[in-house]
Amino acid sequence: MSTPGETAGETVESAREMLPDNSFLIQYPHVSRVVRSLFLTAFVAFGIGAFMGVLQALHRTGIARIVESADYYTFLTLHGVLLAIVFTIFFLAGVFTWANTRSLDRPPVSKRFTWFWVVTMSAGTAMAGIAMLAGLLPSIDISADVLFTFYAPLQAHPIFYIGLAVFVIGTWLAGIDWFRQFLAWRREHPDERIPLQSFMVLTTMIMWFIATLGVAVEVVVFLIPWSLGIMPAPNPLLTRTLFWFFGHPIVYFWLMPAYLLWYTVLPKIAGGRLFSDPLARVVFVLFLLLSTPVGIHHQYLDPGIAEGFKFIAMTNTMFLLLPSLLTAFTVVASIEHGARQRGGTGYFGWLKALPWRDPAFTGMALAGLMFAAGGFSGMVNAGMNINYLVHNTLWVPGHFHLTVGTAVALSFMAGAYWLVPRITGRKLYSRPIGLFQVVLWFVGMVFMSAAMHRGGLAGIPRRTAEPQYPQVAFETVAGSVGSLRLQLAFGGVLLFVSALLFLMNVGLTAMNNKPARGLDSALPPALSGPEQSPTVLDNLKLWALIAVVLVILAYSLPLYSIVQGAGLYPAGQEASPAVIAPLLEVIA
């Protein structure tokens, strides 16, 4: 591998000297390389996933059916896994590597170990990716059309599950790496408060360690042995529950890095300072505590789980609104501070004083706005009674394209516009294209998501290649179903164009021979600093312990009653599709 200076000729090389001494690339060239390699994987996955997205949008609306309907689930699985798992997690691993190093002001303890987890994550991704892609080739007897929610009875080829397990282990190693980095810092600074960005990284990773226990048990104990044909089919309800044990907190694994950018980078871009460091810490602690004991809210319609457990999950979910609303306040107040420092006035007039021409700012601001809208549809999903109205309809993809598909994905794209120059030393290829691209994502998503929400209210199902039934007429609130389909497809096309523009802009930035400027990596201190908060906030062991206790409280009884009910391996469970039987015949 080569550093950018070697490949780029002397312009960037000589420009290196012009970079401020405290710029990240100068201080940590090796960490910058790690981040670049993680971002590269993230963006490749993003490109493929976005292509699948537009295929789906055109297909299910009947505008253009380029693929066979029979292959729809292969595409949908690729879309879900590549975007919601690979793109997000590789990108956030890059952000965390950058943030932990920057805020602790020291590199990870061992270069070898860092590359080891990068390679582990990549190898797992490659295995899972091959299994999914092979589903498109009928000549190969491998497939993984099990959707992003990979629980029984849908069955994938063992390579898919093994790849997932390897990938998750890679993320654990990454977390261990960031903790070692922190402990090394702690030895030299025994009495200092944990720097904010590092605090965010560590709390997020503790949450992730707890959350992934569910998926690890699901995959390693049940799915892998089952797909290898050594064990019978597991209880589907059990695998579903274990999946959602991880499936809700993964939502916060996506969001917390976006929050990290909103809390620490966005105020700087807006020309202000973070409103309150203590509030930011409280928010991350609350997410650590409350992210996991809520997963059952994805199973409101699952028979076999008592209503009481569902009610507890709903209550916990409503508590989760608290840190989200705190975030809304702190982030908006930090931006407003920037606007007022730059001469903004009035109750709403200050909005005009914000740097709207900067794609990094506008992207994150629009992402936050869409998240506010997603907050509403999320409250609808979370309510046990109203959930029945929208369960498994197109409303649900409508909701999470606002949250993960925009609040997270658009923040990451905007963050990339700010971060990529900092880890490459190259000037952003085009700011106007960047601005146009983030706005186009917003507009496309308004079209697609609004149509999905409305279609869902009319009862149109999600995860369906051809949701057009002569016997059923969907009744919409406003406008015809035909017009909703057009809006969905139109929005999907705009989103795809926006994704291409993003990839092009970032790719050309990575090859840009013009040096980046103004790369000071210092972030402004918070208005109200950490010294104003109780030190107990930094007691990570305590919070981890409470989080574990809450999880045990929320899950032990439901899991116990599920296992009591149908057992671990109920008789008569069939795999679908049965990939392993032919394989065993060949071996035998």
Binding site: T11, A15, M18, P20, I269, G271, F275, L301, P303, E307, A328, F329, V332, A333, E336, H337, A339, R340, Q341, R342, G343, G344, G346, Y347, F348, W350, L351, P355, R357, D358, P359, A360, A372, G375, F376, V380, N385, I386, Y388, L389, Y417, W418, P421, K427, L428, S430, R431, G434, V477, K514, P515, A516, R517, G518, L519, D520, A522, P524, L527, S528
Partner: protein, 77 residues
Amino acid sequence: MTATEAEAEADSAVVGDDVYTDGTLVRDPDIEESLSQDEYDPKGTLALLLVYFLILALMWTYMYFVEFLGNGATVVG
């Protein structure tokens, strides 16, 4: 390339907060002032959040009509 270098030099005087992602200078240092915690009262944030809560309340009212007047009662289990 010389143009870029010239720009870079001009910008390096104000390097740091005063630049967009691509390094183009945009802020006017004249109108810039530093607001401390005591001088700053986030009333715009309050205004925005009130607007948001208002929209939420209206949407919830609307939800009432969708769920209870649009369809029959939903009974599960």
